[in-house]
Amino acid sequence: DSTVGSSSDCKPCPCPGGSTCAVVPKTKEVVCTNCPTGTTGKRCELCDDGFFGDPLGENGQVRVCRACKCSDNIDPNAVGNCDRETGECLKCIYNTDGFFCDRCKEGFYGNPLATNANDKCKACSCSPYGTVDRQTSCLQVTGQCQCFPHVTNRDCSACQPGFFNLRSGTGCEQCNCNSIGSTN
């Protein structure tokens, strides 16, 4: 406040690199108005949208702002792709999930880091008849669903040889064919 008339009326802006600031009239709050490229916030303590870091080292070491790191599983046309401080990915695509979009989301399996989008994460599609508790999730890499006894295939969609009645919903039953009357 330059109207008080003392030598300490004007104080330097508390902004990096001596950049400019403004005082909000009502609250007297000081806001930096020209933060260095890539940074924003009252004191330039935040990264711009699409970037993450801790430019002032408010929570530990200084981490310069870097573009969101989401395993190529975000869309550059989206906004708010990652948390501006932690870098946690918020808009994973191609059915990926996780902090860095580095795993398949629940109900999908495959290689989230594959270069071709079609090779990334595929739906588990577990058979509702052959899968324990009608689970819809499977093992991340192989995609193996959790099958009832004597049920086979990745998606638990068939009985093992010598077994039948997948639709029982409790596993396949032994055929019990008479060895005399059967061809095998």
Binding site: A22, C35, T37, T40, K42, L46, D49, N77
Partner: protein, 282 residues
């Protein structure tokens, strides 16, 4: 809440969102008075995306994806008023019906279009089907119509409906890429959009006919607004506001904000509301 820093002088202005603030540029006729460009609002820890203007109460409205929230503040100064703060994920488009006193918004995570009164009350979901990445939305209050675009990479489209959600129709689906920006000019009745995929600004009649290209080979448009014969769009790569003359199909000017970072939503502040009549407003 935080009052604004510099109240806006009378006259028409452009308002646009940039990292942590909403800036304004006074318009002198069609030319941008760049020397007078200033921050209207400092939102230091926020990421404002869409900007809209209510010509009746002279209020600026915006969506914020960090809250996430929808808020407003007066152009004359005063506190920021939060209007919607719950059940939002990524609100990226905002339209105001100044006659019926309603706002409409898109949410690209909830994949919805919603409506509420301008104070945030009486909120309803208008659409929650066939939406993947809905972004820009504009209203034509005098005809009671809504227009929006979805930049879904597997099927981008521009759609319209009545404001009550009836008669939803796809207007454009061919030769679209990433239609990030959309604007409607009630005077010339032209619907124009900015596409970061085809890198074009195009316009057509609101029924989908007479589509034509205004400019092509542009960089990375995000939002667009029409004002008389001009269109103004924000560009992520140029980090600029670009003026295009619709009658000569030429870029006429650009504004480079002092701060170098991506620019988002854009709106104009006409000094008077367009003359119009709406049955629902009575």
């Amino acid at each position: 809440t935080r009052p604004d820093v510099s109240p806006v002088a009378p006259g028409t202005h452009l308002l646009f969102a940039q990292s942590g603030k909403i800036e304004h540029i006074p318009l002198d006729g069609y030319s941008m008075n760049k020397g007078e460009a200033k921050a209207l609002l400092h939102l230091p820890d926020r990421v404002a995306i869409a900007v809209a203007y209510d010509c009746v109460e002279k209020m600026v409205y915006w969506t914020d994806i960090t809250g996430p929230s929808i808020s407003k503040a007066s152009l004359k100064g005063g506190d920021i008023i939060s209007l919607v703060t719950t059940d939002l994920e990524s609100p990226e488009g905002l339209a105001i019906d100044y006659l019926a006193r309603l706002m409409f918004w898109t949410d690209s995570m909830k994949d919805r279009i919603e409506v509420a009164k301008l104070d945030g009350s009486q909120r309803r979901v208008l659409f929650d089907t066939d939406l993947v990445n809905p972004r820009p939305i504009v209203a034509d209050p005098s005809y009671g119509r809504l227009y929006w675009a979805d930049w879904n990479r597997d099927g981008p489209k521009i759609e319209m409906s009545n404001m009550d959600g009836t008669d939803r129709t796809v207007l454009v689906k061919d030769d679209l890429g990433l239609p990030n920006g959309l604007t409607y000019d009630p005077e010339s009745q032209q619907l124009c959009w900015a596409d970061a995929g085809t890198r074009k600004v195009q316009c057509m009649d609101p029924n989908g006919r007479n589509r034509r290209t205004i400019v092509e080979g542009i960089q990375y448009p995000f939002a667009i607004v029409s004002h008389g014969r001009n269109l103004y769009y924000t560009d992520w790569r140029r980090e600029a506001v670009v003026a295009v003359d619709r009658t000569t199909d030429r870029e006429t000017d650009e504004f480079l904000p002092q701060k170098r970072s991506r620019v988002y939503g854009i709106a104009t502040t006409p000094t008077q509301c367009p003359q119009a009549y709406n049955y629902c407003s009575n």
